[in-house]
C-alpha cells in the first residue's frame, strides 16, 4: 500500500464512520424522550441542584461518576423519600457513621433533588443495575417471599431450572418465562407437561392444590 493510499484510507474511512455515528446520534435523540417520563420543571430544578453541589464528585449516576460513594440511579427505590430528605440536609445527624459532609442543602433543594432522582430511577437503562443474583435467589433482597416463590422453593424447581443464573441447567431458564407464556398454559403445563411439550421430561405436578398452582403461575408470569 502506498503512503497516499494509506492516508486516503485514514481520512475517508474516518469520515465514513463519523457519518454513521452522526446518523445513530440522530436516531437515538429521537428515541430517548420515550424511554423516560416527561421532564417537569421540578426534575430540571433537581438536576441543577445535582450539578450545584458537584454530587458527581463522589457519587455515580447511571454508573458514571467518582466511585467514592453509592450509585444514585435507583436510590429512591431503595430508601424512603423522607429518609433521603433528612439525610441530604444533615447526613451525620441521621447516621453518625456517614461519610457525606453537610453541604447546606435546603429543604426545598432536597425536595427538588428527590424529584430528579425519582425521574432518574424511571429511565429505561436496558436493565442496569442488575439485581444481585445471590441475594435475589436466597430471597434476602429486602423482601418477604411471595406465595409463588415459596412453592417454587418447596418443590425444588431450582434443581432443574434457573432464574437470573441461579439453579440447574437441565430445564429451560425461566428468566423471561412471563413474556412467553400465558397463565392458563402454565397451569395446564404444571399438571401435565407432556401434553404441552411432547418430549418434556418434567414430572407432572397435578398433586399440588389449585391455590399452589395458581400462586406458582403468578410467580412465573411476573418473570419478564
Amino acid at each position: 500500500m502506498s503512503n497516499k493510499a494509506a492516508r486516503n484510507l485514514f481520512i475517508f474511512g474516518s469520515i465514513f464512520f463519523f457519518v454513521i455515528f452522526l446518523a445513530l446520534t440522530y436516531d437515538t435523540m429521537s428515541q430517548v424522550e420515550k424511554r423516560a417520563p416527561e421532564i417537569t420543571e421540578g426534575v430540571n430544578a433537581g438536576k441543577m441542584v445535582w450539578h450545584k453541589y458537584d454530587c458527581i464528585g463522589c457519587h455515580t449516576i447511571f454508573g458514571n461518576g467518582s466511585y467514592f460513594a453509592p450509585d444514585m440511579t435507583k436510590i429512591v427505590e431503595k430508601k424512603p423519600k423522607g429518609y433521603l430528605k433528612q439525610f441530604l440536609m444533615d447526613p451525620k445527624a441521621v447516621n453518625p457513621n456517614a461519610s457525606m459532609p453537610t453541604l447546606g442543602i435546603s429543604a426545598s433543594e432536597a425536595d427538588e433533588m428527590i424529584t430528579f432522582l425519582d425521574w432518574i430511577s424511571k429511565v429505561d437503562t436496558n436493565g442496569w443495575p442488575p439485581k444481585p443474583i445471590l441475594a435475589v435467589a436466597s430471597g434476602v433482597a429486602g423482601k418477604e417471599l411471595t406465595p409463588g416463590e415459596k412453592v417454587y422453593r418447596a418443590q425444588n424447581c431450582s434443581g432443574c431450572h434457573s432464574i437470573s443464573g441461579i439453579g440447574g441447567t437441565s430445564g429451560p431458564a425461566l428468566n423471561h418465562v412471563g413474556s412467553k407464556r400465558e397463565k392458563t398454559w402454565l397451569i395446564g403445563h404444571f399438571k401435565d407437561p407432556k401434553a404441552f411439550v411432547p418430549n418434556s421430561a418434567m414430572p407432572p405436578f397435578g398433586h399440588l392444590s389449585e391455590k399452589d398452582l395458581n400462586d406458582l403461575a403468578d410467580y412465573m408470569v411476573s418473570l419478564k
Binding site: V32, Y53, C55, I56, F62, Y67, F68, G104, P132
Partner: protein, 463 residues
C-alpha cells in the same frame, strides 16, 4: 543535539507548567487515596480533591502536548514559528485561566453555596465530571486553543510543507478542539447530558488524543532511531485510521446503561472490542523500528517512547477490553474496575507520551549532546512499578466489589469500608512510591543539561 529553529524553545514554557501540574496532580492523588480510608482526612472534601486530581491531569497533558506541538511544527515546516509573542500570550493566558479555575474549586470546597447561578450557569463548578470548569473558563479554553491552532496553521502556511506527521498532528488537535464544544451546552435531560458529555470524554481519549499519540510516536521514532519517514508515516496512517474506525463507534460502550436504545449494546460491544488492535500495531511498530535501527540518538527518549506504546496497549487496550462487552460490563460498570483501567490507560497512553516527548526534545532545546541518564531511568522504574501495583490493587478492589455488591447484594458502603480496606492501604503505599518517581523526574527536568558534563562526554566536544 541542538534545535534548528530558535522559536522551538517556546516548548519549554509549556513543559515546565506541565511538570509542575504533574507533581500537584500526584500530591492530591495521595490525599484522595487516604480519603478512601479517612473521608475527613483533609480540610477539602473528596469531591474537590478528585476534581483537582483529574483536572490537573487533563490540563498538564494538554499543555505538554501543546509544548510538544510547538517543537514539532517548526521542525516539520522548516521555518520559525509564525509568532512567538502570540504563543507566549497564549501560554500566560492559559496559566492565568487555569489558576483562576483552581482557586474557584477550592473556594467552593470551603463554601459550597458560593457555586451560585450567574447568567444561568454555575459560577465555580458545573458539577459535570472531568469538565467541571465553569462556562467562562470554557470560553477562555476555546480561545486559547484557537490561538494555538491559528499560530500552528500560519506556520505551516509559510512554507506549505505538509508532512504526514504534522498534518495528522494538527488534524488531531483541530478535532480535539471541536470535540470540546458538545460538552458546553446545558441540557435538561440527563440522558442527553451524558450523551454529549461522552462525545467530549470518549472522542478525546479514545479518539483524537490517540491520533495525536500516533503522530508523536512516529515523530519520536524518527528522531531517536533515524528511521525512514515514508515507512513511519505509512504505519502511522494505518494506526490512527484503525483508532478512529474502532474508536468512533466504540463510544457505544458508554451508551449501554444511560437510557439510550438497546442497539448500542451490539454496536458498542463489537467496535470497542476491536479498539486494542491499533494499539497493538503501535507496539509492533515501535519494536520493529527500534530493532531495525540499533543506533539510538537518545536512550531515555527511546525508552519512554517504547514504554508508552507498551503501556498504551496494556492499560488502554487490555484493561479496557476485559470489561467492555455488555455481558461483563453489566456487572462491572461503575465499580473500581473502571478506576483501575483509567489509571493504567492514562499513565501508559498519555503520561509516558508527554514524558517521552520531553526527553526526546529537551536536550536539543537546552543545547546539550549528552546528559546524565541515570535519573530518567530511576524515575521510570519508580513510577512504572508503583503504577502497576496501584492498578493491581484497584483491580482487586473492583473484583471484590463486583462480586460482593453486584452479585451478592451487599451494601456499597459495607464493601468499601470493610472488605476493600487492605486494597486502599496498599494503594496509598504504592502512591507514595509513584510520588518518589515523579519527584526524581521533576528534579531531572530542572537539572537536565544544566549540570557540569563528565569529562568523557565533554572532551570530544572541545576537540
Amino acid at each position: 543535539m541542538s534545535i534548528k529553529y530558535e522559536s522551538q524553545k517556546i516548548a519549554q514554557y509549556f513543559y515546565t507548567f506541565a511538570v509542575i501540574l504533574f507533581l500537584v496532580q500526584v500530591l492530591v492523588g495521595i490525599i484522595a487515596a487516604l480519603q478512601f480510608m479517612w473521608p475527613d482526612f483533609f480540610f477539602l472534601n473528596f469531591n474537590t480533591i478528585r476534581t483537582l486530581h483529574i483536572n490537573a491531569l487533563v490540563v498538564w497533558l494538554l499543555v505538554g502536548l501543546m509544548g510538544a506541538t510547538y517543537y514539532v511544527i517548526p521542525e516539520e515546516s522548516e521555518t520559525e514559528l509564525w509568532s512567538v509573542p502570540l504563543a507566549l500570550l497564549q501560554f500566560w493566558a492559559t496559566v492565568v485561566a487555569v489558576t483562576a479555575v483552581v482557586l474557584g474549586y477550592i473556594w467552593m470546597g470551603f463554601s459550597p453555596q458560593a457555586n451560585s447561578l450567574v447568567l444561568g450557569t454555575q459560577l465555580l463548578n458545573e458539577g459535570r465530571e472531568y469538565i467541571e470548569a465553569p462556562r467562562w473558563a470554557d470560553i477562555l479554553i476555546v480561545i486559547s486553543v484557537l490561538l494555538f491552532l491559528f499560530n500552528c496553521f500560519m506556520t505551516v502556511l509559510k512554507t506549505k510543507k505538509w508532512t504526514g506527521i504534522q498534518g495528522t498532528l494538527l488534524g488531531g488537535l483541530l478535532f480535539l478542539a471541536l470535540m470540546y464544544l458538545p460538552g458546553m451546552a446545558y441540557t435538561k435531560n440527563m440522558i442527553k447530558d451524558q450523551w454529549w458529555w461522552w462525545w467530549v470524554i470518549h472522542l478525546w481519549v479514545e479518539g483524537t488524543w490517540e491520533v495525536i499519540a500516533g503522530a508523536l510516536l512516529a515523530f519520536m521514532l524518527m528522531k531517536v532511531t533515524g528511521a525512514k519517514r515514508e515507512v513511519l508515516e505509512k504505519w502511522m496512517y494505518i494506526e490512527v485510521g484503525l483508532v478512529l474506525f474502532t474508536g468512533i463507534l466504540g463510544t457505544g460502550h458508554h451508551y449501554y446503561w444511560i437510557g439510550t436504545p438497546g442497539y448500542w449494546l451490539w454496536i458498542g460491544g463489537i467496535f470497542s472490542s476491536l479498539e486494542p488492535v491499533p494499539l497493538l500495531v503501535m507496539v509492533w511498530d515501535a519494536f520493529r523500528t527500534t530493532r531495525e535501527h540499533r543506533v539510538s540518538a537518545n536512550r531515555p527518549g527511546q525508552y519512554y517512547a517504547v514504554a508508552h506504546a507498551i503501556f498504551n496497549f496494556v492499560g488502554a487496550g487490555l484493561w479496557g477490553v476485559v470489561h467492555t462487552l455488555p455481558q461483563v460490563n453489566k456487572w462491572t460498570h461503575g465499580t473500581q474496575i473502571t478506576t483501575a483501567h483509567g489509571h493504567l490507560a492514562f499513565y501508559g497512553a498519555y503520561v509516558l507520551l508527554v514524558l517521552a516527548m520531553i526527553y526526546v526534545t529537551l536536550p536539543a532545546i537546552r543545547g546539550v549532546k549528552s546528559f546524565n541518564e541515570s535519573r530518567s531511568f530511576q524515575s521510570f522504574w519508580w513510577m512504572t512499578i508503583s503504577m502497576v501495583f496501584i492498578v493491581l490493587t484497584i483491580t482487586g478492589a473492583g473484583m471484590v466489589q463486583t462480586y460482593m455488591e453486584r452479585l451478592m447484594g451487599l451494601d456499597y458502603v459495607a464493601v468499601k469500608a470493610n472488605y476493600n480496606l487492605w486494597f486502599w492501604i496498599l494503594r496509598a503505599i504504592f502512591g507514595v512510591g509513584f510520588l518518589i518517581g515523579v519527584w526524581i523526574f521533576v528534579v531531572d527536568y530542572f537539572k537536565l543539561g544544566k549540570e557540569p558534563q563528565r569529562a568523557v562526554s565533554a572532551a570530544p566536544e572541545r576537540a
